[in-house]
Symmetry: C2
Subunit: 456 residues, 2 copies
């Protein structure tokens, strides 16, 4: 086995240029799931993956959904061996603001140790790493587990088709464990296992004032300005101390144990880490918790976008006709998205005055999740990381959300182990997204070890 | 004289189609002063006016300024006759949002009793009406006063070049009274003289957060969201009751006398008037004052525009890098724009936390103004309106601002009489701006009477 393992690792190393070329091929496809104009690109990306998975020896197929297709592939080793379902998504975030990219988001380019391009880190790079690990093991007849891939195209738009797909394909997807490489490492030298993920909810609020933009001199003083109402509403969702002001919002929030707090305190993250990554003058947030706790274990609420009125050069003295606000919330374990949705609606109904009208694209949500560190797969992952990095991994609570983890547990009864080889400085969801190639290379090695370790 | 007057009126009536064609020619020129792309159009409009004024017998010239040119023209009747300086502006508001226009803003079109197009009402129609009245009187040798025109191109962008021009051309501009037709009528059957105008101040605030848009999961809880800070700042500029919350803002506000309140109460305006004009469900504003008082005699603060983050389809879970807010204030007599500017700066400095950075395009302001109803020119205007409409005019306090009125008083020591033949439903500063042609036609007659009355 060791010889075969080494042969697989050698294969991965020898084929690194090919792997990189394949990743670039996938990044070139602008598979932005939220933008209707890219619908055809979603199929192109799905077919590229189907072809690639077929070429390395899996049975692959593309499932149509109401929105973007899901790629499924399978390698059957033995009914007696464990089965690992590898999750991935081939869709990416929108690339705007385009003018802040140094190079075209869909023309991948290597600069220094990084490959730049939308999706390189989140998560086409992780998908290619997973496929490449399986390819290397199959090439040397070393894959001793059953493997399934499920790669969706709607992760960045809330995965609306995924739950129905899970519901209607329970047998096809059956596995002992899911491997989800959609989280990341804390630093190139800190191998990381993610034990917790925040949930998410989001909504879009539109406040309507006058039927058209009005002259602010002729009507200022009798017409309630919808931009002002929007500011009142959004401002009122936080308390002055930085905590979320929705009544009941914290009632069910899971409290960190003393041990969890101690473990989080050991993470190699200081205020300076965040200051350097963000360029802000000073940290902010809910009092009584460390920054790491606030990101990993506390719920938050963010304005993702807002707009009203005139934004051109100079001034235009109007009362705008309407205002738009896009808001998302990060939820933590034990918060129920349905209850949070109700808290939002109750707040809006009590807060918005009858001098305006309003509409909401209703909140959608996904639960937070917690992963067990004693699962065999978590242990296999720990050992794989330890072998490659020659040090123990850290365990972290991730601030981001991977709603599929909750959905797979709820619908398939399947636990997930969470890893990934992106870094905090990868600019995911931002201009100049990038992938740290040395870490990514180690990631492929780690995944090869992981699948071998699964046969413990 | 009466015969000559009637001949002038007849000339104006006979030439109505020509007058309308000339207005259309001027509306076609997209002289948007706030948009740098239209710089050449400003010259085209100024030259059109120079040619027109020359063609009717005035000495006309175009003065360059640092920004957009000023058209000046003069007709010298006699050193012993009074001199009227007619003020106008040939620039117009931006036309966006363009998709809400039923026809192109710069392709004037008659529908029903209205001419639609940007600037038809504010104020190219008023400029053409003034020129046409002079043309009709000159045509029949009936102009017995000295007349000057000063038509600027920066009224909609705060008239930055006007004050320097007034300062350096005091002799050229010397006159007994200014006629300013940039205000309007309350309704087609209510001839109106404006006795008061609100002042204005505006500023643009930019709040900077992280150096790039951030993933709201990875950083939500430690980074102060600049959109949220913007909402806190803008929301905090009003008290919950609708009054402006800037400390000291109301300290110097001129109180209405009992008589003024009674006169305003007689204006034929009800809540329904505003509800119908705006389409809002319910009026809003500072308690303790009627809607007419709030617009005419109370200062207000409006968000004219705001922006932050992602506004595309679907959601993008980011913490935006920055937020922009554009704000304007309407001031009333006795408020000092310099003091208001300081109140704004004090508020921002105390309100904005050190978790973000910010910059401001500093407030610019213009004083409010009050006109005397016993001036000879006010009486000449009253009589002219009474003759044409066969009823006494109403006197109103206008919510809008015509900063030039204060500047001309301050620099030239010159009072203004304020009229105009636009209507509240003209959609000025909005899509589908229009001019009510029957009222406009009466307006030309009124101006002919006014100039004749000035020889009392």
């Amino acid at each position: 086995m060791t010889n075969n393992l080494n042969a697989a690792l050698q294969y991965a190393h020898d084929n690194h240029e090919t792997t990189l070329r394949e990743l670039k091929e996938l990044v070139v496809i602008p598979s932005v799931s939220t933008v209707p104009e890219h619908a055809a690109d979603m199929y192109t990306a799905a077919e590229w993956l189907e072809n690639k998975l077929t070429s390395i020896g899996l049975q692959a197929q593309v499932f149509k959904t109401k929105k973007h297709p899901i790629v499924f592939a399978e390698y059957k080793f033995s009914p007696d061996a464990p089965t690992v379902l590898i999750y991935g998504h081939y869709d990416v975030q929108p690339s705007d603001p385009l003018d802040l990219w140094e190079t075209d988001p869909f023309t991948p380019e290597i600069r220094g140790e990084y490959l730049y391009g939308r999706g390189t880190s989140d998560m086409k790079g992780q998908v290619i790493a997973s496929i490449k690990a399986i390819e290397a093991l199959l090439e040397h007849n070393s894959l001793k587990v059953n493997v399934k891939f499920m790669i969706e195209g709607e992760e960045e738009s809330g995965s609306p088709s995924l739950k129905p797909f899970l519901e209607s394909h329970k047998d096809l997807l059956a596995a002992d464990i899911a491997l989800n490489p959609d989280t990341g490492m804390m630093a190139p030298d800190i191998p990381t296992i993610t034990l917790g993920l925040r949930g998410v909810a989001h909504f879009e609020l539109i406040i309507h004032g006058p039927k058209r933009d009005l002259h602010s001199g002729m009507f200022g003083g009798v017409v309630h300005n919808p931009a002002q109402v929007m500011c009142d509403v959004l401002s009122g969702m936080h308390n002055p101390d930085g905590s979320v002001a929705l009544p009941g919002f914290y009632d069910k929030v899971r409290t960190l144990t003393k041990e969890e707090k101690e473990e989080l305190a050991r993470l190699p993250i200081t205020d300076d880490t965040y200051l350097q990554q963000t360029g802000i003058p000073k940290l902010w947030g809910e009092p009584g918790f460390t920054p790491v706790e606030r990101i990993g274990a506390r719920p938050t609420l963010e304005i993702n976008g807002m707009y009203s009125g005139y934004l051109g050069e100079g001034s235009k003295t109007i009362i705008p006709s309407y205002a738009v606000g896009k808001v998302s919330l990060r939820l933590v374990p034990n918060q129920d998205p349905a209850e949070v949705k109700q808290q939002i609606m109750d707040y809006l109904e009590s807060k918005i005055p009858d001098t305006v009208t309003w509409e909401i694209k209703p909140p959608r949500g996904a639960r937070a999740s917690i992963v067990d560190r004693d699962l065999p797969a978590t242990i296999a992952l720990r050992d794989a990381l330890k072998t490659v990095w020659e040090k123990d991994p850290v365990y972290k609570l991730e601030g981001g959300s991977v709603p599929v983890v909750g959905a797979m547990e709820e619908i398939l009864g399947m636990k997930s182990v969470l890893t990934g080889f992106g870094l905090p400085g990868d600019n995911i969801h931002s201009p100049n997204e990038r992938l740290h190639l040395p870490t990514w290379k180690n990631g492929i090695d780690t995944l090869i070890h992981f699948f071998v370790n699964m046969t413990y």
